[in-house]
């Protein structure tokens, strides 16, 4: 292995890590506010990719319009899911909401297969150019994944740290009771967190759809890796989720490169178990 090969792999880590980062941020946000591990997050990412496929092939419009439309549609989907599925069990035993999340996972997957079939779909990349930096090549769309993720995460960070509503979200994931006492609206925050998380899943799906094929089973790997990332950084901790995503992507890419896909699964899962057993609040310390 030479230096350009390693650089190439690092670029792959950045691309994959970006996608995991978007999925994991949504997971951690929802967990911080609603205390629900949203098992449907991977399928929402998959649904986002299918929305891009559908809009792109049905209306033949510009990728960027499709991109924006996907975020809005996925946000709306999140609104409906939170209202219809999670709101009614807010005061029920916790495990009920876990089961609801699994139900949403199954319903989305079933619906997607009914609508589009189980085969692979292809989405044309908007920017077909392949860039070459001194022997390290990257397809334009992959670069877009990295840049787009960076932009979206920056906006999210600004929203949470600098706007009043966002600070409400942050406060609630740090200390629920105190936030309630100072008048943060639970229902509004839950809805907001869920809509943001499905929107992020939509972004991830929209960015990734032109890079890889779109198919129903694409949901599970990002979901599990995002869970591993979120646990690594501490459930409810946004910075931890971002850090964890890139570390997990690194583990995945390099262990697949030098060993095999099974070793990669076991390595990621092993890290997750080890963190849970020895540092249950995550590497950065959990919140909430």
């Amino acid at each position: 292995m030479n230096i350009s090969e390693i650089l190439q792999q690092l670029l792959n880590v950045l691309v994959l890590g970006s996608i995991y980062c978007l999925v994991a941020s949504g997971l951690t946000l929802v967990y911080g506010i609603m205390h629900v591990p949203n098992f449907a997050q991977g399928n929402l990412y998959m649904a986002g990719a299918y929305v891009v496929f559908f809009l792109g092939s049905a209306f033949r419009i510009n990728y960027w319009f499709v991109f924006l439309a996907t975020i809005i549609i996925m946000g709306a989907v999140g609104l409906v899911i939170e209202r219809l599925c999670f709101r009614p069990v807010r005061d029920a035993p916790h495990v009920n909401s876990f089961v609801i999340a699994l139900g949403v996972l199954m319903a989305i997957e079933g619906l997607i297969v009914i609508l589009f079939g189980a085969d692979y779909k292809e989405v044309r990349p908007p920017w077909k150019k392949i860039l070459d930096f001194y022997g390290v090549t990257i397809a334009g769309q992959r670069l877009l994944v990295i840049l787009g993720t960076f932009l979206v995460m920056a906006i999210l960070q600004f929203f949470i740290k600098r706007t009043k509503t966002g600070m409400g979200l942050d406060a609630m994931s740090q200390n629920r009771e105190l936030a309630l006492m100072v008048g943060v609206n639970v229902n509004r925050m839950s809805l907001l967190a869920f809509v943001i998380s499905t929107g992020l899943a939509g972004v991830a799906g929209a960015l990734m759809a032109p890079v890889c094929y779109v198919y129903p089973a694409m949901a599970m790997t990002p979901l599990l890796i995002a869970f591993a990332a979120v646990i690594f950084g501490g459930m409810g901790n946004l910075t931890g989720a971002v850090l964890g995503s890139f570390i997990m992507a690194g583990t995945q890419v390099f262990s697949i490169q030098y060993f095999s896909a099974v070793i990669s699964d076991i390595a990621i899962f092993g890290i997750m178990i080890a963190v849970l057993l020895f540092r249950p609040k995550g590497i950065l310390g959990g919140r909430g």
Partner: protein
């Protein structure tokens, strides 16, 4: 008064068992018998999930994998080594029990969402291992030609298991046995500890119950049951693919259990029966079934978290109480 209120339950159980015994006499077509056998097989998997989730409150998503481990252990033993069903049955049960122990010890330390996520992860790992041990399991191609159980000539009613009807009775025999075991566990000390752990684990620890030990024992027992149902499944169906070990199996069991009634014994039969009959009557292909299952799960957990058997019990109580008030 307490005896009087116990009566309908026993009556219903006896009637139910009687009905199950005469099912092959009523539905003589092969297709209906096939459905009845599938329902019983799912009942067993639901039973196994019910022990750990229904009584103990630990939502395990590894049960699809455990089911698959049992099924594949039998499949490999029977096809590659030619080991007889009656010998392979306990071996596969033990193997699944050991895997369950290995999964249970780290994951049962974790609470709430962490346990659920980790068991889901274990399921993925189990499937990956099954897919990659292709010299034994034939990987994604599937393991075909798994023989059914051989008859035992000296045992009455067990001379031959080649017909569907005899397969039905064999599986029914195990289901009834497991139900009995469940009934005893529910009323044993471990069962009571489990229900207490579900309510408040820290309180149990404070009065000196080793909650971890209780949970591990239960998880292993539940794994063994899942494995044994896998063995019966493999010996009935005759072909296995890695999909039979996937988390989707566990999800389906969860759906059926929720429909029937989480934490009830009768629910483990009602749930699979209703859901399988519905999806068959709609001629549903796999994907529509997935959608229906997901929807059913959401609707039931929101509107009827006790499932259908819980709903019936509630109605019964309400009616009988109403009657009493009226009489008084």
């Amino acid at each position: 008064m307490a005896r009087a209120s116990l009566h309908p339950k026993i009556l219903v159980s006896i009637m139910g068992v009687f009905f199950l015994i005469i099912v092959p006499v009523i539905f003589t077509t092969g297709f209906f018998l096939h459905l009845a056998i599938l329902i019983l097989l799912w009942t067993m998997l639901c039973l196994s999930l019910n022990i750990i989730f229904g009584y103990g409150g630990q939502l395990s998503l590894a049960h699809g994998g455990l089911f698959g481990i049992g099924a594949y252990t039998y499949g490999v033993l029977a096809t590659k080594l030619g080991i007889d069903f009656w010998l392979a049955f306990p071996i596969a049960g033990a193997a699944t029990g050991i895997i369950g122990l290995l999964i249970g010890i780290p994951s049962l330390r974790l609470k709430g969402p962490y346990f659920v996520i980790v068991t889901l992860g274990f399921n993925i790992i189990l499937v990956a291992i099954i897919e990659n041990l292709s010299s034994l399991t034939e990987g994604v191609n599937g393991l075909a030609g798994i023989p059914g159980p051989r008859g035992i000539p000296w045992l009455p009613f067990a001379g031959d298991f080649s017909s569907k009807m005899s397969q039905y009775y064999l599986i029914l025999f195990f289901v009834l046995g497991f139900w009995l075991i469940m009934h005893f566990i529910k009323n044993s000390q471990i069962g009571r500890c489990l229900v207490a752990i579900k309510k408040d684990e820290e309180l149990c620890q404070s009065i000196g119950i080793n909650t971890m030990w209780v949970k591990v024992q239960t998880f292993v027992l539940s794994s063994i049951l899942a494995g044994l149902s896998g063995v019966l499944y493999a010996s009935y169906i005759g072909i296995l693919t890695p999909h039979d070990a996937s988390f989707h199996m566990g999800f389906d069991a969860l759906v059926y259990l929720s429909v029937g009634g989480i934490g009830t014994i009768v629910g483990t039969l009602i749930g699979p029966a209703i859901m399988i009959l519905i999806s068959e009557s709609l001629q549903a292909v796999v994907e529509i079934r997935l959608f229906i299952n997901g929807l059913a799960l959401i609707i039931l957990i929101i509107f009827m978290p006790q499932g259908i058997s819980g709903g019936i019990t509630y109605l019964w109580k309400k009616l009988s109480q109403g009657g009493k008030r009226y009489a008084a």
